[in-house]
């Protein structure tokens, strides 16, 4: 049998996590195909075909796939799944929306946000906000799963896989894409950044959030993240939230500024290689997971740090 990866992209670039999903897919030691559904797929197909370990790139093109609904993607994937024993994607808002729909239509269970593939049907995944690791085994004939990309290295490029077109089904009625609004940023994407500077409620305002954190992030070429408290207070947009209900990051360096370190936040960053916490409260939970802790007023310490870099 074969393994199918559902590729996420923005119309021009494959999401960086696809290359990581390709690495995860090698565990089954069977041919790995990557499915690209897009309005225009030539460039995307070439990017996927270059990934080492990809056997065939399947391309479905249709104008309606410019902004595909979960219903449309599921209608595309389900018939293809007959040829596959494993269907997987990197865990993201995109795949979380589509894959459970696919799994239900295939009448199989799904495993979300797998952090380790033990064998061909046994996985480790976090439960209770990552405070418990559960080893689970699925006896379904088809394995449908999402993998946490940060736990797998990116497949190298330089390959030249075959590209094959597949028929896109008509878009199902009942659901229509209306609009999208992205928070434009020159910074690296949060989920893929090597350095993340995150702010919490202690920043006190949206202006302070930006004025204090942005210069430090600029110097470090870092992405900016936020705690839920900072997002709920309106200091930072929703999509910067790191945690159980936001983005899970695992950068080389995570600098938590004015973040208390609630379990929901820790879930999203505790796999970072090095964690630095700057907080005025020596009792803050964040110091329990920090490699380096500095008890200080962030409004003094962060500018000092920025100036010294």
């Amino acid at each position: 049998m074969r393994t199918l990866i559902i590729a996420e992209h923005d119309g021009q670039h494959l999401n960086e996590q696809v290359a990581r999903a390709v690495t995860a897919a090698q565990h089954w030691q069977q041919p790995v195909d990557v499915l690209i559904a897009a309005a225009q797929a030539d460039g995307l197909a070439a990017q996927a075909a270059a990934l080492q370990g990809v056997s065939t790139v399947l391309v479905a093109t249709d104008a309606a796939l410019q902004h595909p609904t979960a219903e449309h993607l599921a209608a595309l994937v389900v018939p293809l799944a007959a040829n596959y024993s494993v269907v997987l994607a990197a865990h993201s808002a995109f795949s979380k929306n589509v894959l459970p729909r696919v799994a239900a239509l295939l009448d199989v269970n799904m495993l979300s946000d797998v952090i380790e593939i033990v064998n061909s049907n046994t996985y480790v995944r976090g439960i209770y906000a990552g405070n418990v690791l559960a080893t689970v085994q699925s006896s379904d004939a088809k394995q449908v799963l999402t993998v946490r990309a940060s736990k797998f290295s990116a497949a190298a490029t330089g390959a030249n896989a075959a590209i094959q077109s597949v028929t896109a089904p008509a878009a199902p009625e009942g659901s229509r894409w209306v609009a999208e609004a992205f928070n434009k940023s020159e910074r690296p994407p949060l989920a893929a950044a090597k350095v993340v500077v995150s702010g919490g409620r202690a920043l006190g305002s949206a202006d302070a959030f930006k004025d204090v954190l942005a210069p430090l992030a600029d110097k470090l070429h870092a992405a900016i993240g936020a705690s839920r408290a900072a997002v709920d207070s309106g200091y930072a947009p929703n999509d910067l939230q790191v945690g159980q209900t936001g983005v899970v990051v695992a950068p080389e360096l995570y600098i938590a500024v004015g973040i208390s370190g609630a379990i929901q936040h820790a879930y999203g960053m505790k796999d970072s290689k090095v964690v630095v916490a700057i907080n005025q409260d020596p009792e803050a939970q964040i110091f329990k997971i920090a490699d380096y802790g500095l008890v200080a007023d962030l409004f003094e310490a962060v500018p000092q740090l920025t100036a010294a870099l």
């Binding site: 599921a74 239900a104 699925s138 006896s139 894409w177 609004a181 929703n238 090095v274 490699d291």
Partner: protein, 250 residues
């Protein structure tokens, strides 16, 4: 229109659970339980739609043991009209939950089906999408804003890097993000009143479903602890420590 809200009883979000000594499962004996936070957002949204005159009746449903009645009482106290407990001693995986909910939806015929986007215990985030698939209905997940007009729901969804707006025809399945609303506090008189309201109980067997249990939990473990960190006295010491981590800083 009728709204159905599916809710789950989970360990309170403030509690850090422990694993049992034999690693067989999480120890939740005697731990404080409550409505899954995202499900509370779903209940709140249904109530707000009722207050706007769009929804006429709200039915809440949960699946579990008789002890799960407490969250149905909570839903009643918030403002839900009717509640149903699908009673079973087994814990069900999202696919089985979706199959049970499908049977309830077919019985109730709601125009709007609301769920939380994920439960904070299994963190699966699958049930709403699976239910929509089984019912062959449109889905709108991670909703942070819902507007209903003329049998269409316009839903703003939280996605990576921003938001997306979808228009779905009703009936549809919508899953709530935390950002959707701020759930109301339950007032004591409402809780007293909710105690007197009937709870419909449906034994799971009465639904005649064939549910497969294809996922087995082999063991659970605490994640590896991060080694204890060090406290530094100032920014200079912090910088010198970080610079000793090769490649970490310029």
């Amino acid at each position: 229109m009728k709204a159905l809200v599916a809710i789950k009883r989970v360990v309170d979000y403030n509690i850090q659970v422990r694993v049992k000594a034999d690693g067989s499962d999480v120890d939740i004996e005697g731990v404080k339980m409550g409505v899954n936070p995202f499900d509370e957002n779903a209940i709140e949204e249904a109530i707000r739609l009722k207050e706007k005159g769009i929804v006429t009746e709200i039915v809440a449903v949960t699946i579990g043991a008789a002890t799960h009645q407490d969250i149905l009482r909570h839903a009643l106290a918030m403002g839900v009209d009717r509640v149903t407990l699908v009673e079973t001693a087994n814990s069900l995986a999202p696919l089985a939950v979706a199959k049970v909910l499908k049977a309830v939806v077919e019985r109730e015929q709601p125009a709007l089906i609301l769920l939380g986007k994920q439960a904070i215990d299994d963190d699966a985030g699958q049930t709403g999408q699976m239910l929509a698939a089984l019912l062959n209905l449109p889905q709108a997940t991670y909703a942070s804003q819902i507007t209903i007009a003329e049998n269409q729901a316009t839903v703003v969804r939280e996605i990576d890097g921003g938001t997306q707006t979808l228009s779905v025809s009703l009936p549809a399945v919508i899953t709530a993000d935390l950002r959707l609303n701020e759930p109301r506090y339950v007032k004591l008189p409402n809780l007293m009143m909710a105690r007197k309201k009937p709870i419909e109980t449906l034994p799971l067997d009465s639904l005649n479903l064939s549910l497969t249990h294809s996922v087995q939990q082999l063991k659970v473990a605490a994640p590896p602890e991060r080694p204890a960190g060090v406290m530094v006295k100032d920014v200079n010491e912090l910088l010198s420590k970080l610079r000793t981590h090769e490649g970490l800083l310029p």
